[in-house]
C-alpha cells in the first residue's frame, strides 16, 4: 500500500536531496560533467553581495511577514470568533484571497500599487500622503510585496485561530467571568494559553513559507527578477536565478543545501517544542 509513496519519497525527495549535497561541492552548468571544487561554492556565495542581499531580504520579509500576519490573523479571529451568519460571512470574505492564484494576486496588486494610477496611492492622496512607489522604490518594494502576500495569508491564519478559539471550553470562560475576570484578564490567562499550539504552528508555517517565498516575488517583476535594485530578490528567486539564468548548478545546489538545513532546524525545533508541550 505504501509502495508508490515509498518510490516517490526515494526518487523525488531523498535522491534529489543527496544529489544536491553532492553537487554543492562541484562546479557544473548542465552541459559539463560536475567537477569537484570542495567548499568553493559556499565560500563564493558568502562573498557575493547579491547572495547576502537575498538572505537579508528574506529575513526581513520573514520577520515582518510572520509578525504582522500572525497578529492580524489573531486579531481578526478574536474580532469575528462568534458563531452566526454575519460573522461567518465576514470570515469567508477575509479568507477568500487565500484561494486567489498567486499570479492573479501579483497582477492585480501590481496594478493597485502603481505609483501613477494605482488605487492605493489615490486613497492615500486623500490623506495627503504620497505618491509612494510601492513596488518601484527600493525602500518600499519589500513592504509592497508583503502587502499582497498578507492579503492572501491573513485569512488562513484567522481560520486556524477561530477553530482553536471555538475549542476553548465555555464553562472555563464562565468560571473566569464568575471570578470577576475582565475581558483582558480572561484573554491573557484563559484564552491565550489554549492558543499556544496554534500560534506556534502558524509561526512555523509562515516562517517556512517566507524562507521559500517565490511566486508573487517572481510575478511582480518577471523580466528583471528582484527589481528595483534587488530589493525584492528573495532567497528562492536567487536560487532560481543561479540555476536557470546563470546555469551555476553548483551554487544553486549549495543554496538548496543551506535552505534544507535551516528549514530542517526550524521543523525539528517545532516538533521538539510541540512534543514537550504535549507532555506537560
Amino acid at each position: 500500500m505504501l509502495t508508490p509513496w515509498g518510490i516517490g519519497v526515494l526518487g523525488l525527495v531523498a535522491i534529489p536531496s543527496l544529489l544536491a549535497i553532492y553537487w554543492s561541492f562541484t562546479d557544473f552548468n548542465l552541459f559539463t560533467v560536475p567537477r569537484w571544487v570542495g567548499l568553493d561554492n559556499y565560500v563564493g556565495l558568502f562573498a557575493d553581495p547579491v547572495f547576502i542581499k537575498s538572505v537579508t531580504n528574506t529575513l526581513y520579509m520573514t520577520g515582518v511577514g510572520v509578525a504582522v500576519g500572525t497578529s492580524m490573523g489573531l486579531g481578526t479571529a478574536l474580532l469575528l470568533q462568534r458563531t452566526g451568519r454575519t460573522t461567518s460571512t465576514l470570515r469567508a470574505v477575509i479568507f477568500l484571497p487565500a484561494i486567489v492564484p498567486p499570479v492573479a494576486t501579483g497582477i492585480v496588486w501590481t496594478f493597485i500599487l502603481n505609483p501613477q494610477y494605482g488605487l492605493l496611492n489615490a486613497g492615500l492622496k486623500a490623506f495627503g500622503i504620497g505618491p509612494i512607489g510601492w513596488l518601484s522604490n527600493p525602500d518600499f518594494a519589500k513592504n509592497g510585496l508583503l502587502m499582497m502576500v498578507l492579503w492572501g495569508t491573513v485569512g488562513q491564519v484567522m481560520v486556524t485561530f477561530v477553530a482553536a478559539l471555538q475549542e476553548v471550553p465555555v464553562d472555563t470562560l464562565e468560571a473566569a467571568s464568575l471570578d470577576g475576570a475582565g475581558p483582558v484578564r480572561t484573554f491573557t490567562s484563559v484564552v491565550f494559553p489554549s492558543l499556544r499550539g496554534v500560534l506556534l504552528y502558524n509561526v512555523v508555517i509562515a516562517t517556512l513559507f517566507y524562507f521559500q517565498f517565490f511566486e508573487q516575488a517572481f510575478v511582480v517583476s518577471p523580466t528583471n527578477l528582484g527589481a528595483p535594485a534587488q530589493s525584492t530578490l528573495t532567497y528562492a528567486l536567487y536560487l532560481y536565478q543561479q540555476a536557470f539564468t546563470y546555469l551555476k548548478m553548483g551554487n544553486a545546489a549549495a543554496m538548496s543545501v543551506m535552505l534544507l538545513i535551516v528549514s530542517s532546524l526550524v521543523i525539528g525545533a517545532f516538533f521538539a517544542i510541540s512534543r514537550r508541550a504535549g507532555k506537560r
Binding site: P102, I107, W109, F111, A122, V198, V219, L239, S264
Partner: protein, 309 residues
C-alpha cells in the same frame, strides 16, 4: 471536522449570576455596544479584503484609457465585455486551459490513488517502523520545494520528461504532488487523521467477516471517509490550478503552458494592456471563486486540520 466559516449557530451563554440583575442589565447594554463596534470593524476589514478582487473585475470591464486613468475611475463607463473575447484571442487561452485541466485532473487522480492507501497503511495497519516512517511524511510536509527543484529538474531531464506535461503529472501518482499551497504529504496527513479516528471495532468486525485489508479499505472505510476525500480533492485541484513554480521550471515551452504560466508570460510580454490582463486574470480566478462559494466548508477544513489537531 471543524468548519469555522459556517459553524453551528449556538449562542454562548453569558455567565453572570442571577442575583445581580441591575448590573447584568448594564453589562448587557455594554456588551451590545461592543458587539456593534466589533461588527463594524469586522465589516470594514472584510471590505478592505474584498477591494482587490472587485478592482480586478471592474478593471476587466474598462477601456484601456479608463483602467489607467488618474485619479482612478471607480466604475467603468459601460461594461466592456469584449475585453474577455480580446483577452482570450490575444493569448493561446484554450491551449493553456486544456493543459491546466489535464494537469489538475491527473494531479487529483494521482494524489487520491497514492495517498489513500498510504494513509490507510499509517492509520489502520500495524507494522514495524510505522511511526518512524510517518515522521518522514510529517517532515516532507514542510520541506521547501526550492531545495529540491534543481535536482528534480535534472532528474526529469534524464527521464526525458521535459517537453511534456509529465513532470507535473507523474509525481502525484507516487505521492509527491508538491505545491506551495498543498502537497501529497498534507493529503496523507489529513486522510490518516480521519481514518485513525474511526472506531477500531470496524476493523475487527471486518476481520471476523473475513474481509481482507483491501476490502476493508474500499468497502467500509472509503464511504465513511467521503468528507475528507472531498477536502483533499478540492485542495489538490485548487493548488494544482493555481501553482506557478512547477510549471515555470518544468514546462519550458509555450505550447505546454498552464493558465498560470501563460498568464505570467502574457504579463511580462504585454505589460500595458491592463484591462485585457485583468480580464484574463478574472477568467482564471472565476472557476476558483465558484468552487469556493459552492464548497466553502471543505476549504477551511483543509486549512484548519493541521493546526488544531
Amino acid at each position: 471536522m471543524i468548519s469555522t466559516l459556517s459553524g453551528p449557530t449556538t449562542a454562548q451563554p453569558v455567565g453572570v449570576s442571577p442575583s445581580r440583575l441591575p448590573r447584568r442589565r448594564a453589562a448587557r447594554q455594554r456588551s451590545r455596544t461592543a458587539a456593534v463596534l466589533r461588527l463594524s470593524v469586522g465589516i470594514t476589514i472584510a471590505v478592505g479584503f474584498l477591494i482587490p478582487l472587485l478592482w480586478m473585475i471592474t478593471g476587466a470591464l474598462k477601456t484601456s484609457e479608463e483602467v489607467t486613468a488618474s485619479p482612478p475611475q471607480l466604475i467603468p463607463s459601460s461594461l466592456h465585455l469584449e475585453n474577455f473575447v480580446d483577452a482570450v484571442n490575444y493569448i493561446d487561452f484554450w491551449a493553456y486551459l486544456g493543459n491546466s485541466v489535464i494537469v489538475t485532473v491527473f494531479s487529483v487522480i494521482g494524489t487520491l490513488i497514492a495517498c489513500i492507501p498510504a494513509a490507510y497503511a499509517f492509520a489502520v495497519l500495524r507494522w514495524r517502523g510505522r511511526d518512524t516512517t510517518f515522521g518522514v511524511v510529517l517532515f516532507s510536509m514542510m520541506l521547501p520545494f526550492p531545495a529540491v527543484m534543481v535536482p528534480l529538474y535534472l532528474i526529469f531531464k534524464n527521464l526525458g520528461f521535459l517537453g511534456t506535461l509529465a513532470p507535473l503529472i507523474v509525481p502525484p501518482f507516487v505521492g509527491q504532488f508538491i505545491t506551495p499551497a498543498f502537497s501529497s504529504a498534507l493529503a496523507i496527513f489529513l486522510l490518516r487523521q480521519f481514518l485513525s479516528q474511526l472506531p477500531y471495532e470496524l476493523v475487527e468486525a471486518a476481520k471476523v467477516d473475513g474481509a481482507g485489508p483491501l476490502r476493508l479499505l474500499v468497502q467500509i472505510m472509503l464511504p465513511l471517509a467521503k468528507p475528507v476525500i472531498v477536502t483533499v480533492t478540492i485542495m489538490t485541484a485548487l493548488s494544482s490550478w493555481t501553482a506557478l513554480v512547477g510549471p515555470l521550471i518544468f514546462l519550458n515551452s509555450d505550447s505546454l503552458s498552464t493558465l498560470s504560466l501563460g498568464l505570467q508570460l502574457y504579463q511580462s510580454q504585454h505589460f500595458t494592456a491592463y484591462n485585457l490582463l485583468l480580464a484574463a486574470s478574472t477568467l482564471f480566478v472565476l472557476p476558483v471563486l465558484l468552487l469556493f462559494v459552492l464548497t466553502q466548508r471543505y476549504f477551511t477544513a483543509g486549512a484548519t486540520q493541521g493546526a488544531v489537531k
